[in-house]
Symmetry: C2
Subunit: 623 residues, 2 copies
Amino acid sequence: MSATKAAEPSTSTIDAIKEKANRLSILSMMSTTAAGSGHPTSCMSAAELVAGTFFYAMKFDPKNPNSPDGDRFVLSKGHAAPVLYAAFAVAGVIPESRVMTLREFSSELEGHPTPRIPGVDAATGSLGQGLSVGAGLAIGAKMDESPTRVYVMLGDGEMAEGQVWEAAAFAGHYKLENLTVLADVNALGQSEPTMYQHNMEIYRQKFESEDWAVQIIDGHDVPAVLAALDRAKAAKGHPQAILARTIKGHGVSFLAGKEHWHGKPIPKDRLAAAIKEVGGPIDVPADPGKSYARTTLPEPPNFPAPAAPEYDPAKPVATREAYGFALKRLGAVNPHLVAISGDVKNSTFSEVFQDAYPDHFYQGYIAEQNLVSAGVGLAARGKVPFLDTFACFFARAYDQVRMAAISRSNINLCGSHCGISIGEDGPSQMALEDIAIFRAVHSSAVFYPSDAVSAERLVETMARRPGINYLRTSRPKMPILYGKDERFPVPGFKVLRKSDQDKATVIGAGITLHEALKAADQLKSAGTAVRVIDLYCVKPLDGTALAAEITATGGRLVTVEDHWAEGGIGEAVLAALAQAGAALSKSRLIAVRNMPHSGKPDELIDAFGISAKHIVEAVNSIA
Amino acid sequence: MSATKAAEPSTSTIDAIKEKANRLSILSMMSTTAAGSGHPTSCMSAAELVAGTFFYAMKFDPKNPNSPDGDRFVLSKGHAAPVLYAAFAVAGVIPESRVMTLREFSSELEGHPTPRIPGVDAATGSLGQGLSVGAGLAIGAKMDESPTRVYVMLGDGEMAEGQVWEAAAFAGHYKLENLTVLADVNALGQSEPTMYQHNMEIYRQKFESEDWAVQIIDGHDVPAVLAALDRAKAAKGHPQAILARTIKGHGVSFLAGKEHWHGKPIPKDRLAAAIKEVGGPIDVPADPGKSYARTTLPEPPNFPAPAAPEYDPAKPVATREAYGFALKRLGAVNPHLVAISGDVKNSTFSEVFQDAYPDHFYQGYIAEQNLVSAGVGLAARGKVPFLDTFACFFARAYDQVRMAAISRSNINLCGSHCGISIGEDGPSQMALEDIAIFRAVHSSAVFYPSDAVSAERLVETMARRPGINYLRTSRPKMPILYGKDERFPVPGFKVLRKSDQDKATVIGAGITLHEALKAADQLKSAGTAVRVIDLYCVKPLDGTALAAEITATGGRLVTVEDHWAEGGIGEAVLAALAQAGAALSKSRLIAVRNMPHSGKPDELIDAFGISAKHIVEAVNSIA
């Protein structure tokens, strides 16, 4: 690898870092023993690496550790949280006394890092996600021409996660020279030694295959740590991996390199002896003081109204196409937009945005986990990420979405090709669970447009709304339902058919809304009026407003969805009505209940029970 | 790499394989053009590799292509399904005429492979899962001392998926010499060229880092393909990777190596010219004949009753511990059991099984995607896989679970550490969405035991039940509720408190059932009787039986769960009641509704609203 020779750190610098490393180890031991749980040995393997990075390499303002131009540290091996909190304390971000509140109910210092803690950009603790977050932060910094450097600490246990290698490939491909990995290779997993143990050359080969510059060091040798950090800073053109051979529980004879200590604090009666081995004891004030929790977290930046959607009312358009047009219109008024696609931009139509704003588009290839977590990194820098793949493939990144919610992240996901209405490709490409899984995410909104105008307006809403926003788009072209100035509040729904004689309320969205409209026409011809609701916003729901419509139709309800019955529109509506205290007289929940297969869209929606015919039957059975 | 010199194939053999490869290409073109959709160019890059593998290397009985001792072919790049179906046809598994029914509603030949098709072991089409399935098949074959060799065809686009490298590491670690990868490196993804294009050395480095033996060949050079297959068969001690440089759309001048042809059939008016370039035309009978769909798919093998669970009724036990004991007891009577843990066997207690049956346990390391898909491979060989990690981390493998359902697979998953009751580790380790996501899987059952006895009995039920079985276990120790001979039918629930004066029904499971029992005692002291139900089986539900209990308590219902409100127990019960036509007078759905943080379990269940106190309040508000 290429490296510019840096001035060597002085002996006094080295001694100061050694002392700080010991302090981090001791604080990690003290805080976990006080908490009665936690992972001290996983902190001790990392102490010199963390000390060198925080107190020698990184530039940041301890009073404003989340500021855009400061260097960032992502602790991907989140169970080593105590060493991170200790570093924040020693750096002056929080007082050292706070460290002793670790894992308490009232403390901001949770068992694993979350952005409630000053200096933390994203929650970690589900392993193998931090490098993707770091790549997102690094790309954002490059877009901003910021001097920010991003350091990501990986554990060797978590390098078994495929996502780490998705992220390594992504970072190598985009030549993220502002990104440095610190791999704490302590050779012990939770339940037994790791697959490669201390075979450092395997890790070298893996990172080098992704075009990273690699250094292998002894992670407890402070001069080596500092020299590696200097070389990583000086190098150009590649992301940098510092692979450190370390010892779990380093510094304490009864812990160092020993199995069966993972996730176990040091017993109280052995703590003093352990601390003494690492150069202690140290003084920490007894009064922990007040919480340092961040009470306001980043929200998406405001922006002027984009141009209104323009569609020929007579010409059907797929909502997936409208997604692309909407991104392009937003791009003209919101410079923070960034789109990443999982190699499907020509199906999800994010290529329309790429064509207009190529510098704001990244190819994510077929790696959905990295796609989502990189979005979390971008959002942590104030970007407005829009991430797309087929709706079913977000199932691949569901843990990453779950963690994004714990990160209090503001990310937008567009899943195309929902449901059986995709047709011939068959069930592997049909999302039939995406409403269920995205509803079960804290802070989420689930949008499901039935025409191009509502799709565009909802994309604008997503760019403004904090939290996890999910847009479910459809493959088939569908008629335009709304004028270009129609608005779509959240929560909200549209009543598209309504009379005083309505015998039932039919709720649909996407392809099933159009089937519901057909059914309403057929029923009307046969003398039965029904109310038809476009549930463009599946979460949040206004149960009271929905209840008013359903009550007006005799408490008779039919829901119909291109989705499994479990966790979908039907259950969402039932739960909202129950919470609103509404009484149903009769209901029919129409959904996909058998495993679909290939066929033409119309054949499938009929065969699997969600077509107009089945809606008519359901209404007739209760009205 | 080491290789024994094999006899060289004769010129006539080579010519025969070339002819078969052309036939596969032509059938792929014809069938996709007839279907009006599909991926012919992705088939054409693979034609020689598939022909060489099927007609030179593989040994299998075309009349019984799923038999245990035959060689297996897993098409991980599932969108190349037409070339697989063509190979089955040319091999005599199905008639060639069936190929022309591709993607039709009534055909078994779906857009992507599923086990409805003879010879297919697992559904593919969500990319990057096939190598894990193949590793599971290969491990199963080794356990059975079967001569079976497993061939997995990967596309280069899908090699961006981290799961491929989880699987490569797993296969390398377990030295699966009966596993061969055929990598069809055609350099074009769906939307643009792949990250590495034809840089074959990168792929070599990646496989070699995982201890694979690698050969790089021209994938259209039939002698080279056959020689590589021979070398792979002869080699020992390592899995084998044949990395083939190929051309997408090979053989047809207007397709070969051209972008923008992904997933597009050849227009009808250009088909004849294309076929001619590949040596056609060929004759295919016009009458497709009857479907060859497999109507019976594998079910878990039967086994004698295991020993009854033995617990001291006075001594609390965590359900996660009972899982380990149950596996051990089952292992004594069912030789097909195989357990894999995601490096958490000491938390999920599968180590109890490992200690008793070390040859039936595999360390899966921290790689949940591979864990689940390898289980699908094992199940396809008739094994009974039990896969464990923390419940929240199955979110990492949700796409793999989704595909397992499309595979009609029989797999068992145990997720431990559910909900906020885990305490201090914080939200990254708390599963609050697992009921929602596992309910939204076709063929799934969701079991949620509240004591060790029911946990053990449900583990036995899982081993007998076809489909996707999920067991949600809890971290805290909980009192024993049942005698050792109690049975737990599916669907089913237990009524633990019941009187003629019951004013409401309270439904809980796991930690919340014990809170419900406490609440019932407190309410009884205050003069209000309530019915308490242990919902040990969350899916499937018997809505009629539940409705009878709730109706008997005035239609008043309280559900309480250590899970988000969305898609959990409350919604499941509402939907089941709606389907049963039951009327609720008043209901309260108690669930976790705010983002939790660290704290002691009791602090958290109280602060986040799911403790006995909140159940008492809910009952009083409606009774």
